[in-house]
Structure formats: structure tokens, C-alpha cells
Symmetry: C2
Amino acid sequence: MTGWQQVLPLGAGASLPRWVADARLAQLAWSRLAEPEDLEARRFVGHRGPSAALERLASPAPVSAAECFEGESVERLRRGLARWASRWDQTDPERDLDRLHALGGRVVLPGDAEWPDGLALLDGDEPFALWVRGPLDLAAACERSIAVVGARAATAYGERIASQLGIGLGDAGATTISGAALGIDGAAHRGALASGGPTVAVLACGVDRAYPPSHAALLRALCEEGLVVSELPPGSSPMKRRFLQRNRLIAAAAGATVVVEAGWRSGALSTANRAQMIGKPIGAVPGPITSPSSEGCHRLLRREAVCITDASEALQLLKITRADPERPVPARPHDGLSDLAGRVLDAVPLLDPRSAQSIVGAAGLPLEEVRAGLEDLVMHGLVVPEGGGWRRAPLEEPPTGRGQ
Amino acid sequence: MTGWQQVLPLGAGASLPRWVADARLAQLAWSRLAEPEDLEARRFVGHRGPSAALERLASPAPVSAAECFEGESVERLRRGLARWASRWDQTDPERDLDRLHALGGRVVLPGDAEWPDGLALLDGDEPFALWVRGPLDLAAACERSIAVVGARAATAYGERIASQLGIGLGDAGATTISGAALGIDGAAHRGALASGGPTVAVLACGVDRAYPPSHAALLRALCEEGLVVSELPPGSSPMKRRFLQRNRLIAAAAGATVVVEAGWRSGALSTANRAQMIGKPIGAVPGPITSPSSEGCHRLLRREAVCITDASEALQLLKITRADPERPVPARPHDGLSDLAGRVLDAVPLLDPRSAQSIVGAAGLPLEEVRAGLEDLVMHGLVVPEGGGWRRAPLEEPPTGRGQ
């Protein structure tokens, strides 16, 4: 991405491509222009509609306070326009569509019959579009579905369980949703495919990419018998932050999320965390407490996750209705965090809850500011209340094995 | 035990042994005369005091309605007297005390300084006396204690975890309470002893017995460095039902109960169940879901048990205060169950809750009677409500490996 100067790719008066005026194509253009984590872009397009938003992007007029909607500021809008303009040259939704159609794919946009109901829970963080390959109906497949996720660095135990869950869900006619990654994800998809059950892979790259390369055959099978889905247009590369954003789609599309194996700071925990934040039930498969690959699962079990030992127990999760879904939080929890909140965060313990009063000492801040900081952190999903005190929510980081 | 005819061991006018008049010795006599599971005996002695109760037992007068206290009936009292009289000949608390003192032991009675506070939670099901060996103060040892229990048929994994918990608790200065059985219990005690930490074994036989025989050296070490406790007088044999009763003492004496490994129907679950019923926190150590030896733990984790992976997490259980301890239930859940309740019980599923309405069909009883039966079953701790329906509480059965 370019820096922060305002880039004006089109000269004033240059004519805009005709797809700008087509709302569906314009929407697809935005899925190229903005990163999945770019909440500013979603807000910008949401307020103006995709075509008008593109026209504004192409206009050389300086940003004025008058044009800002609620939640926007001149400064942030100026930065946003510069960011999106930097991808203008690469953007051609007609070419992207052609590429997808050549692969037998299709796009699904918000409001389309195939758009999964659960994505509405993302509330402002919904994807611009889904690029889809495979014979199943996406909305129908998500209707009775379990996300089976876990670490890439899985053990033989974990992979065995994941594939048994996929088989069991398939046998019950339920859909296995996962991320097609190495380890748990792949095993879950394979189990589902083996049982002839529906399965959906949500990728962190274009649906034309075979990533990870060793899963090329699996992805091909998923395109033929299941579904492969991405919010990124064809050709997009898998990038670290895209995996975290992808996780929110898995969490929202599935009826419940089950973590099979996850290290202490595994990225799979972020999927569970997302699911929980939007009010979806979560489960975790236990393992030997001597296995670092199960530490994240045990951590979840010490919180709200239900202990899952087979597919029928996973399906029971679908019957749980959360009385109090936590409010959806922005896509990037650390984004927009004040210095104050950051300082308070450093003083919040990872596991054992600590009272606001005792955070005062650790943070070196007055109680009033600690309270304000905590409120901010809770809003960002970084801190959770527990037993009258406060502790950190699981970190959203990509799998790195055992951290601490 | 003899049948049900009224046995009159002392002829009318024969003089009673002098210990009958000594309240402490009379109390000890009752711990010989009545089985731990004999609630009727506790009620009988509770209403009259131990000496007067013995005098009534020795009297040949037929039972009259006039002498019955609340909760007693002529019929039940007649049976009770016959039952207790059948052990009269074996009863000599002075001899029992001599035997205990010869081993360096002592007795602790309700109200004594060493009587563990937690036993009061048993509410009508407290033991008559505790026969104790070992250098520790029993009440002090129970103050900050965790029951570490589990299957006799433990795996190497389970034994390793149990001994690590014992070590960790000992390092933290907390007491490991267990039952000195093969498998998990022994490993927990050994860990505690290895760390020099306090540990208490509660036996289902006399404290002079080395049971299981292969734990003779362990029991010796416990007598020298920890505590060995039983509600049964010296010489008493370990019997199946005594193990279940022993479990209630472990659950009540400890601050919290952690199950390390337990099969689907392991007796260790009864300890957790007891702890839960009297409002004590319970924890369970997860294991591979492929291991039958962890099935009971996972079953607990799907209920109220907290996931425990180390000693510090076990100690955190002590901070949990249950807002709503379930009401204590009688010692023997099936005791006094009506035919109606028994019929309803057969129709209540083991795991997946079923509505009262759907139990109607299965039980072949009108809804009103099903409701009455369910109420009875809940009172007996045999059935628990879940998600608007009903299912069975874990069965209280001695360890038999994997059932189902």
C-alpha cells in the first residue's frame, strides 16, 4: 500500500469506466480496492452506495467536512481515499468476473439469495462480496453448519478428531465449515468429503489460488463437491492479516464454532473469539493437558466453550441460544485504541482477573482513567470481565505454535 | 446383617455396659452398630443422643408410635432396631479405642476442634465419628484442600497428572485429599508426599487395615506424614457401598473436588456429584477424547466442572462460591424412591434432555404423575433439569471401568 499523500489516479475530467455505474460491478470493485480489515471503506461505501463511492474516489476534489457522514472525519477520509486510490489501477471487476466464470465460479453479494444469514451478525463488517466456487448453495449449506477449526501445526490426535468430526457432521447431513489450512482444517474438510457431507472452505486468498500448495487436490475436490469461498477477488494473495479477517467469516457463517486443537495463542482461538463476540456458541475438543497443541482448547474450556467429544455434541451447540451476545466489535481490535487504553491493557492480566483498583497501581493511572480505559478495551473485545475483575480476552494472532 | 425380626440381644433387666452412659464412647459404638449409609441410625441417635439411643436399643419394649420423632415410623424404627441390634455383640468402643491408641491414633467427634468444618454440609448425613491416624491436625489440613480423585484403572497419563497435582498442591501448601485407592488416588497422595505437602486419605475400611494391600507402604507413609481417616471403626472391611459413602466425606471435607481420570460410570464421578450437591466447586482434568478413561471427566466438563490443567487452576476453584448450592440429598439416592418415581426414572434419558411431555409417552403415565415423579427424582438428586427438559444425574456406582 502507498503512503498517505492523496493519490489522484484519474485526471479531472477523464471519463470513468462504465462498470462504475453498475452497482454489482462497483461492489466487486470495492472488494479489490479495500482490504477486508478496512472498516473505513465499508463505512464509506455503506453511506454512499458503491457507485457513488467510486465516483467520489475518482474525483480530485479535496475532502471537506461537509461531505463526511457520521463516523467519518476529514482526516480519516483523506487517508482512506489515498489508500483505495492506490489500488485503482489494478481494479477491473469485469476482468475479475471473467476470470471467475472461466473457473465455473460465481459471485454472491449482500441481499442475494445465496448470501449466508449469519454474515449479518458482522454488523458493519460484512464483506463487500463473496467469490464462490462449487456446486452447493452457500446459504443453504450454512444453515446447519459447524465451523471445525484448529491449528495448522496439529498432532495426529487432532487431525484424527477433526476428520472424525467432519465425517460425523456429514453423516448427520450437517455442513463442515473450515479454512482449508494445513492441519485441523484440512482434516475436517477431508472427513466431510469422505462421508459425502457438505463442506465449505473460506479462504484468505482468491478462490483461484491453491493455497497452501499442498492442498491443491483438496481444494479441487472442494470446488467439485463442496464450496470454496473468499471475500477477496481472484488472484489475491494470502496475507497474514487476511487470515484473521477470514476467521470472522467462518465464525459468522457457521452456526457454531468448534476448536479441535489450538496452541496457547493459536489463530484458531480468534475464530472462537469472533464467534463468541457475535453470540454464536463455541465448543472445544479437549486433549491431553500435557499437549501444547491442546492448551488453547483448554483455555477456551475454562471460559465459555462447551466440551465437545463427538459430532452429535457439536450439533447440540446449534440448540444453544445465547441470551446476551456480546456487541460486535470492530474488525481490528487494536485499531483506534487510545494511548490510555493501551496503557491499561498492559496492566490487565492474561488469565487471573484483577480488580480495577489493583490495575490502578500496575498502570500508574487514576481509577477514573483506568475505568475509562477498561470500557474502551471491553468495547474492542480485548478485555473481558470475570468474577468482579478484569482479564484479557484471547489474543487474535496467527498460529505461531506455543507462545506465552 | 440379620433379617428383619426384632432381635433383643440383652435380656430384660440385664445390666448395660458402663460405656453406654459415656456420650463419646456411645457415639463410637454407633459408628460400629450402623453402616455409614444408614440414615435412619443418624436420625435415631440425633433425636435421642447416643447413650439414650443405646438404651432404647437394649430395651425389649416393642416400638410404639408415641416414641417416634419426626421422620421416624414404627415400622422403620422396628427394622432399624433389629438391624443395629444384630451388631451389638461385636460392639465394644473401649476395645476399639484401645486398638486405635495402640496404633497412635485418636478419634475426632462432631464438635471437636479437629472436626472438619465442611462435614456440616452433609446435613444429617455426618459421620458418627472419625477414626484418625497421623500427625496433622485434621481440621487445619482440610481448610485449604483439594480432593484429587479418579479411577482405579487409571492410565499412565492420569497417574502422572494426579501426582503432578499432588506435588503442585503441596508446593502451594495446600492439602491433597483422596481415597488411597489404586490408580489416581495413590498417585495424588504420592505426589503430595513427595513435595512434603499435607495429604489426607479417607478410607472405606478401618484405619488399621492396609487396603488395597499393595498400598501398605503408602498407607504407612500417610500415617507417618499425613493423615488416614475413616468413619468406620478399626477392623472394618472395605465393602462396595462403603466406598460410595466414603466419597461423600472426601467431597465434604475438601474445599473443591478435581476428577483426574474417570470412565463413563466411574465411582469418582460420585465424589464430584456429591461435592456439587453440597455446593462445592468441582473441576475435571481433560484428556484425549479417544481415551475411555477420560470420558467421565469430559462428561463433567459438559456440565458444571471447570477445566483443570494444573494445581494453580485447581486452587482457583477454592475462590468459587456457588450462589445456589443444590440442597443436600439423602445418602442413598434410590432409598425411599416411590414406584412412580422409579417408573419415571426409567423414562428419563441418560444424557439428552427430554421434556416432561415426551416422558409421558415413554413412561406410560399421565403428565401430572410424571411431574410428581420428576420432582421426587430431582429431590433425590437422580435427575437434573437441562435446557427446558430433564436428564439423569450421573449415577453413583463404584468404579467398574467403562460402562454403558
